[in-house]
């Protein structure tokens, strides 16, 4: 039976292989190596559906370094973009937190705005595209429905009216009125080819005014700004705005949340945890409509009773798994999703997929047999603690490196590359059932 084929753009495949080979998560193409996380992915896809219906979602993706948190975040982000969501992501760092006394909060907001992405602009910097796309749609509406001339002043007035009509829905939010005013000024600036006004409006929207005085002195003449205190409220405002102009919702991703755990000062750490609590409450209680917040965290950040999130009782009582969850099972509908180690079959499947993608990209005939993949996995597991600690990142990186080497040096032998010397190299090929090599046959 003829099957549907998956089309993988060369640019995306190249980026995917390069990034994965270097041990980092690529921005695009992750869905082509999405193996072994079906349950988690489906749980989060359900979240996206809920967000598009106006609900909120809040998830911690918990796993060790290299377990696939960033991968899963990238995967959800890419999928959310395809589904018509606006996405913004930021890696937390010592300079970018949820709360801080030196502008760490607003720095996070600026990073989110810098990485704002939509389907047409998946690499970030999509704020102007989103706004102008909306203005264009409003103009189109004016021309088609109101029969206004494209060059007429009435069209501009119509667009402005529409902007304020949408903005009416935002009045209840912090800075809602000023937000609408800035959008209108941005439109006017564009129509008048006033680059300075456009730039000031964008600066305001991206939270780049350091002081209210600066904002007042600008062409906007607005006395409020996005600052450390209100940046999260403005994010909720954005979410409402995006939904009002036709997007499915707003997904916000925070990776490397372990940086919160590393804050040495207890009070500062707890202030950040309080912000997480506010996010949790807003999304789960329906106060933040159409917002999905996804955080990548290590088990240490979550569970450490002294410095972790569980040290903050208000969050602990909300996040701690229920007592009726059997050992070894997890509730994928709970806010915490623990990423388990991929099992051997899934690792094998991942390697197999990598061979396919690599050979497709470089257009060569794969030489590796199933037994070679098994030997590679055995070597990967053949070290203390690997059974629990081995991560997809390591497997992917090491395996792609071997594939790269074998491609660039056709004489290179796989067994030499993985540091093995089979005593009986041909023994494996005699019978597939016997192809599982025995450790006694291997000399390190």
């Amino acid at each position: 039976m003829e099957q549907e084929k998956i089309k993988i753009p060369k640019r995306i495949l190249g980026t995917l292989l390069n990034s994965a080979g270097a041990g980092v998560v690529p921005r695009q193409g992750l869905e082509y190596i999405a193996i072994g996380r079906e349950e988690e992915i489906r749980a989060i896809l359900r979240d996206l559906e809920n967000i598009s219906l106006g609900m909120g979602a809040f998830r911690f993706l918990v796993g060790k370094y290299g377990s696939g948190k960033s991968f899963l975040i990238g995967l959800i982000r890419a999928n959310a973009l395809e589904r018509g969501f606006i996405c913004a992501d930021s890696d937390l760092t010592p300079e970018r937190r949820f709360h801080g006394t030196s502008g760490q909060g607003i720095a996070t907001f600026r990073e989110l705005m810098r990485n704002l992405a939509c389907k047409a602009m998946p690499d970030g910097g999509a704020l102007t595209a989103i706004l102008t796309g909306w203005f264009a749609a409003l103009q189109q509406k004016g021309i088609l429905e109101e029969k206004l001339s494209p060059e007429s002043a009435e069209l501009a007035e119509f667009v402005q009216r529409e902007i304020f009509t949408v903005s009416e829905k935002l009045r209840g939010f912090v800075n809602g009125f000023d937000f609408a005013k800035v959008l209108n000024l941005y439109y006017l600036g564009y129509k008048q080819q006033n680059d300075e006004l456009c730039e000031d409006a964008l600066r305001w929207l991206r939270g780049e005014f350091a002081t209210k005085t600066q904002a007042r002195a600008s062409l906007l003449k607005i006395g409020t700004i996005v600052d450390d205190q209100n940046w999260y409220d403005v994010l909720k405002l954005y979410a409402q705005f995006f939904r009002a102009i036709g997007y499915q919702g707003f997904c916000i991703f925070f990776d490397e949340c372990v940086n919160l755990y590393k804050i040495p000062n207890r009070i500062s750490r707890e202030n950040n945890y309080e912000k997480i609590l506010a996010m949790f409450n807003d999304t789960m209680q329906g106060k933040a409509e159409g917002v999905g917040i996804f955080l990548g965290a290590t088990p240490q950040l979550i569970e450490d009773p002294r410095r972790g999130i569980f040290s903050y009782e208000a969050l602990k009582s909300r996040l701690v798994p229920g007592k009726f969850i059997p050992f070894g099972k997890q509730n994928l509908l709970s806010p915490l999703i623990y990423l388990q180690r991929l099992n051997d079959n899934e690792l094998f499947a991942l390697c197999k997929r990598l061979i396919l993608l690599h050979s497709s990209y470089y257009n060569y005939q794969p030489k590796l047999e199933n037994e070679d993949i098994l030997a590679f996995l055995q070597v990967a597991l053949d070290k203390m603690g690997a059974n629990e600690m081995i991560t997809p990142r390591e497997v992917t990186r090491d395996f792609l490196n071997i594939l790269d080497l074998m491609f660039t040096d056709p004489e290179a032998k796989f067994t030499d590359l993985i540091g093995l010397k089979m005593e009986n190299e041909n023994a494996a090929s005699e019978n597939e059932e016997d192809s599982f090599f025995d450790l006694s046959e291997i000399q390190l």
Partner: protein
């Protein structure tokens, strides 16, 4: 080793190294003052005032004119007979002081008087808190005064167990003339005394001592063994232990019998010259080094993680301590082995990988379903079937044909161009013109063009990218309007320059 030999190599106490304290006056400490003269009481002394009126009147009269003593049986005589018979009477401490004052002047029976003092000390130390200090000073001064041997052996339990601050010169004699005599075997009390006075390492104050009973027990036992078997009595020890700058001599004047009410004219003062070893920090540090070494070795034996700062000690001491530790080490190792057997973890055995290849291949195939699900929104159910571009050889087909059925070769340029034609067909004339300007002109010109037609440049770019996503399955330009390098050749193939443009534009 003989005692004399021991001392002959000792440079510790050049002035008072004699084994007899009465030699102090000849060889070391110079004693000056009255010798064996009667010591009249003085009425003004505080302790004397505490005596009862009867005793006071007796003492005054007796000492001034014994014949006129008012009592038939003088108090001193009563106590004297009780002491002589070693009978404990209920008396006040003032009576004891009065008696002792009388005994000091007893001529030609100094040794008997000393014995009496010692008996009194031992007998009444439990009854009076002041007894230890009073008798210690008394006996010390009495021995100095009459040139008697200080009875260290007899007094050792008293000195070691009392809270007395031993006089420095007496401490020197006690420590080096008695405790460190090679023939002497230290008992536990004496070891405690040395640890208290000569070291500052409190192994009993450590966390391990209180949390680990085995560590505490071994510390007590091994430290006792080391000291009782002569750790600090070895000749080389003294050379090594005090291989430091010996403190300079101290000259001090001491008033004898300070607590006895003696008339001013009868005061006796002696001048003592000695080396103040008791307060010397270097000596303490050297002693600490030994103790620390012992404690660290015990920690090693018990595999405790923490250890104390190590201070080097001589090889001879090391071998001595090791000889003491050896049996304990064997015992501890055996104990530890037994403990480890019960909690022993198996050696690391690499887990053999367990892959069900058929199942793994199923997983890999099913994951395409997830991939499809994740990309379904932009496939929109209009996915075209695209033939695999390159012909493959038989071996390749055999291994991977089935899998590759699911994946399009990205190098399939013919198919790719088809997609771009599809993309070009989806564009509006304005978008096509904008793309044309981006391809062959500059983004500024493209921006100006967008404005000229009343459109937004970024909005148009977003629309173009969205259409590219739907057809080519990738965006073709960045937010600023920069076309991706990978797609420029194929875009130029599809969108040829138009007539009228600077480069001669014209839609292909």
């Amino acid at each position: 080793m003989e005692k004399d030999e021991f001392w002959s190599v000792d440079r510790l106490l050049p002035k008072i190294r004699s084994k007899k304290s009465h030699d102090l006056s000849e060889k070391g400490a110079e004693i000056a003052g009255l010798f064996a003269a009667p010591l009249p009481f003085r009425a003004g002394e505080k302790i004397f005032c505490k005596n009862s009126r009867i005793i006071r009147s007796y003492q005054f009269i007796y000492f001034q004119n014994p014949a006129e003593a008012p009592l038939e049986a003088p108090f001193v005589s009563v106590l004297e007979s009780a002491v002589r018979n070693r009978e404990k009477r209920v008396v006040g401490f003032a009576e004891i002081i009065s008696y002792c004052a009388a005994m000091i002047n007893r001529e030609n029976s100094e040794q008997a008087a000393l014995e009496d003092f010692l008996w009194l000390w031992e007998t009444y130390r439990g009854d009076f808190a002041l007894a230890d200090k009073f008798f210690c000073d008394l006996v010390c001064d009495f021995c100095l005064y009459y040139g008697l041997d200080f009875p260290f052996e007899r007094l050792s339990p008293l000195l070691c167990t009392s809270q007395l601050a031993v006089k420095p010169f007496l401490f020197n004699l006690f420590l080096f003339d008695y405790l460190f005599t090679p023939s002497h075997r230290l008992n536990r009390q004496e070891i405690e005394f040395i640890l208290k006075n000569v070291t500052k390492t409190g192994y009993r104050a450590t966390k391990a001592y209180h949390s680990n009973a085995r560590f505490a027990g071994l510390c007590e036992e091994i430290v006792f063994q080391c000291f009782s078997k002569g750790l600090m009595q070895r000749t080389d020890l003294n050379e090594n232990l005090f291989h430091i700058q010996i403190p300079s001599e101290v000259k001090t004047t001491r008033k004898l019998f300070p607590q006895i009410p003696i008339g001013k004219e009868g005061e006796v003062r002696v001048t003592l010259i000695f080396i103040p070893m008791l307060y010397d920090e270097n000596i303490r540090e050297r002693c600490d080094a030994l103790l620390r070494y012992i404690e660290n070795r015990i920690r090693e034996m018990l595999k405790l993680k923490n250890s104390l700062t190590r201070i080097p000690i001589s090889p001879l001491h090391k071998s001595f301590i090791e000889s003491i530790l050896a049996p304990y080490e064997v015992q501890t190792a055996s104990f530890r082995k037994q403990a480890e057997i019960s909690t022993e973890k198996p050696d690391f055995v690499p887990r053999k990988i367990e892959v069900d290849i058929a199942k793994a291949i199923d997983i890999e195939e099913e994951s395409w379903g997830v991939t499809k699900e994740l990309t379904e929104s932009f496939l929109s159910g209009e996915t075209e079937l695209v033939a695999i571009g390159a012909a493959q050889d038989e071996e390749f087909d055999r291994k991977y044909a089935a899998e590759l059925e699911k994946i399009e070769k990205p190098q399939s340029e013919a198919g790719e161009i088809d997609l771009f034609w599809e993309f070009a067909a989806a564009l509006t004339p304005e978008e096509e013109r904008l793309l044309d300007l981006l391809l062959y002109h500059t983004s500024e010109e493209a921006r100006a063009y967008a404005f000229s037609i009343g459109q937004f440049f970024e909005g148009m770019l977003a629309a173009i990218n969205a259409k590219a996503q739907d057809t080519v399955e990738d965006v073709i330009c960045s937010a600023g309007g920069k076309l991706f390098e990978e797609y420029i050749p194929i875009l130029k193939t599809v969108f040829l320059p138009k007539e009228g443009d600077a480069h001669g534009t014209g839609k292909n």
